[in-house]
Symmetry: C2
Subunit: 435 residues, 2 copies
């Protein structure tokens, strides 16, 4: 059955970044069938029966946002600790709370974070955590699209005793979701301070066997780079390059501390970097050199990081931070313009996941991952430039309707896939039990 969205302003994010006024999007099942002027699209379906018509007058219809780096289950620790020196924040507060997590915590934390994402316009995300089978269960309940990264460390975590156990989980999940329509699996070695070079090499090989992405945290902090220089005589990027681990199927999070040689390496290998400006600012980690990475040929995506270091999963807020941090830090108001940042949160995110032919823009043949924003509001009036308003004025609460793979998961701010209030009660229960 077909669904028609009509009379809206369609921000396609196609190759020409076309914006269609009085526009319509028609999709059938999971696939977009037609876009264009409402009259023209309506003429294509004359006499045919529609499942639903979504009126979008005064609204902006755009691709769902892609959150390219998060740790979803950590939403359960939102606001637990802030404004502390890094070591105190991590070791005394976050790590200690996280170590009490059970499978149920991971499931419910993911459900909570996923709800927040639906309500703020994210339709696809990249996770990086443990018990990703539990995250997958939450994702399935919510109907989101995701790439779930099985975290690997050479340390004991609450989920795994050691890295071989994590590899086993990866193999199981990669097999289970091999042909899934919404979930893909990736392998996610943690970082060089916790994960050996040997484990990285094994991870790349294992990811390759399943044609999966390999994710890792890279050059997030100066301490990490110093550690690598001391231990290996090289920067993190140089180590990975030497081991031939970097390629178009590599997604690196952060990239704050990169020298010119590193940037050249990342560009040459066509890697993707998930920029996480809020997390980097909140933890005072550093600033990713956006313009230089882009110039070098790196695909730049955008991520919120986990709720412990943000503390929000709202990608609209993240876009504003991305645009403003570059201007402020590098002293140039022309840097990181709104269209560029919007690209990071949509089509570039898709590209980072190897999904650029499926999502990231509204085009016939692509999957219907679409969000609809109410622009008929004071804080979005007047409209000169839609990209500017999306980056500098909008927030997640402006999203009325979210569609993932052709399924309406939220309509007029009512989540349709799950009982929202029930989840909030379950969260309160599990945290009480544990306190």
């Amino acid at each position: 059955m077909m669904i028609l969205i009509k009379n809206g302003t369609i921000l396609t994010q196609d190759k020409n970044r076309r914006v269609i006024k009085d526009g319509a999007v028609l999709f059938e099942g999971e696939t977009i069938k037609a876009i264009g002027q409402t009259k023209k699209v309506e003429s294509l379906i004359k006499g045919k029966k529609l499942e639903k018509i979504i009126e979008a007058k005064g609204k902006v219809v755009m691709p769902g946002l892609v959150n390219a780096h998060t740790h979803l289950a950590m939403t359960l620790l939102r606001g637990l600790a802030d404004d502390l020196p890094l070591e105190e924040w991590w070791f005394k507060k976050i790590f200690s709370a996280e170590s009490k997590f059970t499978r149920r915590h991971v499931f419910l934390g993911s459900l909570l974070g996923g709800l927040e994402m639906i309500k703020s316009g994210t339709t696809c995300f990249v996770d990086f955590y443990y018990f990703e089978d539990e995250v997958a269960s939450a994702v399935k309940e919510l109907g989101l699209r995701a790439n779930l990264g099985v975290g690997i460390l050479d340390l004991e975590t609450f989920a795994f005793k050691n890295s071989p156990e994590s590899f086993v989980q990866f193999f199981e999940l990669a097999e289970r979701f091999r042909n899934d329509n919404l979930i893909r699996i990736s392998l996610a070695p943690h970082m060089f301070q916790t994960t050996s070079r040997e484990t990285y090499k094994k991870a790349k090989k294992a990811a390759g066997r399943f044609n999966c992405i390999m994710q890792t945290h890279l050059a997030e902090t100066k301490a990490e780079v110093d550690f690598c220089r001391k231990k290996y005589g090289k920067t993190p990027a140089q180590i990975l390059d030497k081991e031939k681990i970097l390629d178009g199927k590599t997604l690196l999070a952060h990239g704050c501390h990169l020298d010119e040689k590193d940037i050249k390496i990342l560009g040459k290998n066509k890697v993707s970097v998930a920029h996480c400006p809020v997390s980097n600012m909140k933890l005072a980690s550093g600033v990713m050199p956006l313009a230089r990475l882009e110039k070098a040929g790196v695909c730049l995506a955008l991520g919120t990081d986990g709720s412990c270091s943000n503390n929000s999963l709202d990608m609209f807020g993240e876009m504003k931070f991305a645009a403003l941090l570059q201007k402020s830090f590098f002293g140039d108001p022309a840097l990181a313009d709104s269209q560029r940042v919007l690209d990071m949160a949509t089509i570039n995110g898709a590209r980072a996941l190897g999904l650029e032919k499926e999502i990231g823009s509204i085009e016939p043949g692509k999957k219907a991952d679409i969000i609809i924003l109410d622009f008929d509001q004071p804080h979005l009036t007047p409209v000169s430039n839609i990209a500017s308003h999306l980056v500098y004025c909008a927030n997640g609460a402006d999203v009325l309707t979210s569609i993932v793979n052709g399924r309406v998961v939220m309509e007029n701010r009512k989540v349709k896939v799950i009982d929202e209030k029930k989840v909030l009660v379950q969260i309160k229960e599990i945290l009480k039990l544990n306190s």
Copy 2:
């Protein structure tokens, strides 16, 4: 008649920053009569008739936010130009569009901006513009509290041919609103690049005659400081100090480029500074040294600046930027903690306006400037620390109800003082007429 807000979490922002769970606030007319546990407050009014009961279970009740620096009418130019070098942005785009403004533009732009403020939890603001009588008309329609600054430059503007004309307007307005319950008037010399030292001296004298605040932009850009050093051999702060213009009735916007001597001067004179992090980042102006100013004894408030350089008036977004910019720029995640930033947006803003005995906290005897936020939402779950959630997770759309001076101006997100949709239509009309 009395209004009771009950069963909420009351974030008082009183001297002890008390948070009352299962709390209530009772106000009669414009004045708060009692706060405390709901049971206790209810026992005080047994048998008495109430005008209204506002149920606040699952909600946070807090003081309305104070936006300490904006140019409200410029909301009409929201998104007109972004991501440009400063000179191109200002001279080619903004200044040229603004020069076509009429009184009607200023009125409608203020109405639009005021609506946005009501809908995002700001109950009091400081304006700085021309035709402040028109801004006052808009403020009266909306029922907001405001300090309206009559802008003064030694240049011709769309409103005034010269600075004497602006002084005349100031005298008229200061007289007209001398005993107003919601509006105060201030005098606002623009900045040293457009306004002479003589005009500053006259302005301070005139403001003093009416016991008014004097506002100005100070050390916003390096260019401004360089200009002053070249022309006067001193920094802007040093010039004002030498002329004995600085005191507790001085509100300075920005303060990005201050040396140690400047900071000492500002502290010694007990001035207030309105920090505008988003504007400073968007225009790459610089970064205000928050911790050093605070240590020196300066009262730090928070402002959004105008919609051209933000492009939002949402003070919740502004708080997050304030907290994160300091951590990132100065490399210390413990800087600008959430309680400190919340203080800037409430009680410090009140103090900057000389209103600390009237607003900025919820205490018996103070005016009822109160907002109520819906905390029963995924992005605000779970709650460990309310201040943290307000700064790092909330946004203006979480505000359900806004009360200014005892009057409910918005309830359950419905603006009660004006026809919101009609204003949006009027905005579209005036911009079409002009295009």
